[in-house]
Structure formats: structure tokens, C-alpha cells
């Protein structure tokens, strides 16, 4: 059994404390249902515990491993839900965005949440919403050059946040 395998109940508690928040955030994002997301997180930790002797930190991080399990759980839950008869016409569908891509999106969004408010606003307004620098600058009452430097430091902060989260492209 590899050193660091997830076999004790205390290992699972530690893994939960470190990663459950993120896993839940992604589950809510992809399933669009908090009840299902809670079920998904519970299943993820149960599966992780059952297969805990196979987890090897030499091969990949615990976070990456848990996200891989969650991915499978979300697919299973999505399938189970898809096979149920639809009663109303406005049930949100799972899988209109491929799950891998959704995971990337969610990680970038999570990283954006973690950086400073000014940096986030600069990136969101000028890039994601595509607004002219002049508009954003006058709205915030700062020179355009300030927005430009916030975009730069914001990208650096985003890179650090993604690294801290263990994101690897």
C-alpha cells in the first residue's frame, strides 16, 4: 500500500476539511442542484475511502484524485437523473457543457473569487465583458493606466491562485 494512502477514517476527515468546499462548489456548478451536489460529495468521499489503498501521492495530488472521482460520480448522477421521467419541461440538463471543460471553467471562476476585488473587477469588466478601458476607468473613477496595471497584477494573482489550487494545464 503506498505511503499516504487514504485508509483511515481520520484520513477521510482531513481530506474533507481540505477539499470538500471546492468539490461541493464544482458539484453545484455542474449539477445545478444543491441536494444532488451534496449526494455527489458524499459519494465521492465514500468511493475515495473504499479505494483509499489505491491512492498514491507519488502519482498525483489528493485533490486531483478526488476531482477525478467526483467527475465520475457527477456523470453517474447525471445519467440516473436523465433516465428518470421528466415531469416538467424546465428541468436543467446536465452535460450541455462537457464535464472536463466545465471543470476548467469552474476552477478559473474559483480562482477569480480568490483574488482581490479590484483585480477581479478589472479582468471581468475589460476582458470577460469586453468593455472599453475608458468606460471601466470612468465608472471606477481611476485613470486608464490604473486599470491596465490592475489587469496585469490581476492576471498574476490569478496564476498564483490557480497554482495554489493545484490546477495544472
Amino acid at each position: 500500500m503506498p505511503q499516504g494512502a487514504l485508509t483511515q477514517e481520520s484520513d477521510v476527515r482531513e481530506a474533507y476539511a481540505a477539499h470538500a468546499g471546492e468539490l461541493y462548489g464544482f458539484a453545484v456548478r455542474s449539477l445545478e442542484d444543491r441536494g444532488l451536489a451534496e449526494e455527489a460529495v458524499q459519494d465521492t468521499f465514500l468511493r475515495a475511502w473504499r479505494a483509499g489503498d489505491r491512492f498514491d501521492p507519488q502519482i498525483g495530488s489528493l485533490r486531483t484524485w478526488l476531482f477525478a472521482i467526483l467527475r465520475n460520480v457527477v456523470i453517474d448522477l447525471g445519467r440516473a437523473r436523465a433516465s428518470r421521467p421528466v415531469v416538467t419541461g424546465d428541468v436543467p440538463e446536465v452535460g450541455h457543457e462537457p464535464l472536463e471543460e466545465m471543470l476548467v471553467s469552474w476552477q478559473v471562476e474559483e480562482a477569480l473569487r480568490r483574488i482581490g476585488d479590484q483585480h477581479r473587477r478589472a479582468l471581468v469588466e475589460t476582458y470577460l465583458r469586453g468593455r472599453p478601458y475608458a468606460d471601466v476607468a470612468s465608472e471606477l473613477g481611476v485613470p486608464e493606466g490604473t486599470i491596465k496595471s490592475r489587469v496585469y497584477y490581476g492576471l498574476r494573482a490569478l496564476r498564483n491562485a490557480l497554482e495554489e489550487m493545484g490546477y495544472d494545464d
Partner: protein, 227 residues
């Protein structure tokens, strides 16, 4: 190139990699990068971040919902329950083993009188199953006992509830059952402790019938025993 000069250029690098600079400013910044390896390296490091940034949806930046209270406890209870169930399963198998041992006693006593003292310290013999479907793992080990063999079987990857029957094949082709169990939890390794009246040196193959499939591990003849 002074650091202060670079700072001015640096602060344009975000806009550069995001494609936000006008043509003139862009050309000037790129000209600086031509002659400044440090700023070039910084621009190269930011480019992949710029590429993933477009994957974010600005409408989804509201705070992440907090974890439902009590979820950690519910998971801990489920794990504790599964741990208890796994322990009960082992105990049940132990009872099966005990019954099998008792049933074999008469034969063993006869065998002992014919062959002399039993071999109690032989190391367990591990048996490898090959050509398994992906996701399935099966292994077995045989331990010599006065009544025959302890057969320890590890299986993983079958649909939950799969009936598993284990047998040993003797030198002249006869199958001696070692017992049966049900594979219970998806994703978990089930350990079954079974027993058979056949001695390890006489075993030529171990078979596992799981649902409708049969997996056989052949044991190469050691040349020490033939019947």
C-alpha cells in the same frame, strides 16, 4: 534596461496577452520584448493564464455555496457503518471456514495417519489470475493446513452482489469446491477466507466463477508431487 523602465512595460503585459492593446502600443511593447528576455519570459508565463481566463463565466462568480452542515458527520457515519459491515462479513466467512474445517476432520485424521506429521509452516502460495477484464482484479493464495488448504481470495471490480464460487483443481482434473461468497461493495476489495480439502502441492489450478464468468489461474507443476 533599468528596472523602472521595465515596470512600465510590465504593466502592459496583461493587456498585451489579453489582446487589449491598440496597434501602436502593442507594436511598442513587442519591440521591448524583443530586447528584454525578462519581460519576454513574463509575457510567456501569463499567456496560458489568459487562455484559460476566457473559460470563466462572469455570471457565475457569486460566492461558492457553503457546505451543508452535518455533511462531514453523515459521511463519517456511512464509513463507520461500512467498516462494521466489512468486519461482520469477515466473521461470517470465518464461520464458514470453521464449518468446512470440522467437516474435513475425519478425512484429515485418516490422511495424517497415512502421511505423518502435517506441514504447518509452509509459506502461503500466491496465485495470479491473468487475462482479467479491465477494472477487475482477482488474486488468491493457498496455505497448507492439516485439512487441505486455506484459500484466501481477493476480488474487486464485479457488479455488487455478484455470486463468487471458488474451486481448486486436483492433479487428475477433479474440482474440489472451496466455498462461495458474494462480492458486496463496488470499488472495494472483498477478502474471502475459504478452505478446501485439497493440499496446495496437489492443486493444479484455482477457479473463480463470478456470475456467468469463470476465471482460472493455472499453477505450474513444481515437479515435487504427482498423484
Amino acid at each position: 534596461m533599468t528596472t523602472d523602465e521595465c515596470r512600465v512595460w510590465r504593466e502592459r503585459l496583461g493587456a498585451l496577452v489579453l489582446g487589449q492593446l491598440g496597434p501602436q502600443e502593442r507594436a511598442a511593447t513587442e519591440a521591448h520584448l524583443e530586447g528584454c528576455p525578462d519581460c519576454r519570459a513574463e509575457a510567456d508565463a501569463l499567456a496560458p493564464i489568459a487562455a484559460v481566463l476566457q473559460r470563466a463565466d462572469p455570471e457565475r462568480l457569486t460566492p461558492t455555496p457553503s457546505l451543508p452542515p452535518g455533511l462531514a458527520d453523515r459521511i463519517a457515519r456511512r464509513i463507520a457503518a461500512e467498516r462494521r459491515a466489512a468486519r461482520r462479513r469477515k466473521v461470517r466467512l470465518g464461520l464458514v471456514l470453521g464449518a468446512a474445517a470440522a467437516a474435513a476432520t475425519a478425512a484429515v485424521l485418516l490422511a495424517l495417519s497415512l502421511t505423518g506429521s502435517p506441514n504447518t509452516t509452509t509459506p502461503a502460495q500466491t496465485v495470479a489470475f491473468q487475462h482479467l477484464p479491465s477494472g477487475v482484479s482477482v488474486s488468491a493464495s493457498l496455505q497448507s493446513r492439516p485439512w487441505g488448504s486455506d484459500v484466501q481470495v481477493h476480488v474487486r471490480g464485479f457488479p455488487p452482489g455478484t455470486l463468487c464460487m471458488v474451486w481448486l483443481r486436483g492433479a487428475d482434473g477433479e474440482r474440489i469446491p472451496a466455498g462461495s461468497f458474494r462480492y458486496v461493495y463496488a470499488g472495494e476489495t472483498d477478502e474471502a477466507e475459504l478452505s478446501s480439502a485439497l493440499d496446495p502441492p496437489h492443486v493444479t489450478a484455482v477457479g473463480l466463477e463470478a456470475g456467468s464468468r469463470t476465471f482460472v489461474a493455472h499453477i505450474p507443476s513444481s515437479g515435487s508431487t504427482h498423484s
